[in-house]
Amino acid sequence: MARLAHAMALENSGITADVVGAQEFPQLAQKLLITSVPRTLINERVQIKGVVEEQEFLNKVLEAVGQKPAVAL
């Protein structure tokens, strides 16, 4: 998930991708209700639990900005 997020940020400078160590920042993880990892938050609105494929990740990113899902790869 970390690699996918960073690869996406490389494609569009409007995307900021942070890989956050939940152990290093327990207060932030608690505040954002992170109970398991990997957990991905997009604009603190849409979340992904666990690991997903590139297509699903992309669709979640599109959902977070109110765009329609992309056509299947």
Binding site: A2, I15, T16, D18, V19, V20, V37, V61, Q67, A70
Partner: protein
């Protein structure tokens, strides 16, 4: 919690050296936001950012020593708060991978285990300027409107 020891073994260094020699093309600049050792020893209630800074710096110094194409800038989060503000860094340790004029690939915390592998792959991808994403994904991302902030929470494995 177990204390992490971010040592890069000699055999790992040697493998990395060879790989970077073969695969790195353009220079990659890494910016680390950290704090002094003295500040790391100071306990400030409510402050989360006091841990792992020293270990992260040691790990990155070892990493960049494996290739002359990797550059490391170290910024003191407290003493150079104007720089931290400019980068939008609000917690440390923070690692920013600079791509052209962008600063949008970040790690917060110490990149250990699987995250270290991700960091190495990121450096190669940035240096070569070739992403592993499917062409359709890249197309959709390039058309994307509005700011997106992705946060991936991980733990070292």
């Amino acid at each position: 919690m177990q204390r992490l020891t971010p040592m890069l073994k000699e055999e790992d260094r040697s493998t990395l050296k060879q790989r970077f020699k073969k695969e790195l093309k353009a220079e990659v600049n890494i910016t680390l936001f950290t704090q002094s050792t003295a500040a790391s020893l100071l306990y400030v209630p409510g402050r989360e950012q006091s841990r792992y800074c020293l270990e992260t710096q040691q790990l990155l110094e070892k990493l960049v020593s494996t290739s002359d194409k990797l550059k490391l800038d170290i910024v003191d989060f407290h003493k150079q708060s104007d720089v931290a503000k400019e980068y939008g860094v609000d917690k440390i340790p923070a690692i920013i991978l600079n791509t052209n004029d962008n600063r949008n690939l970040r790690y917060y915390g110490i990149p250990m285990g699987y995250e270290f592998v991700t960091l190495v792959e990121d450096l190669i991808t940035i240096s070569r300027g070739v992403s592993s994403l499917h062409p359709n994904t890249r197309k959709a991302l390039r058309k994307l409107q509005g700011p997106v902030h992705i946060q991936v929470f991980v733990t070292p494995t």
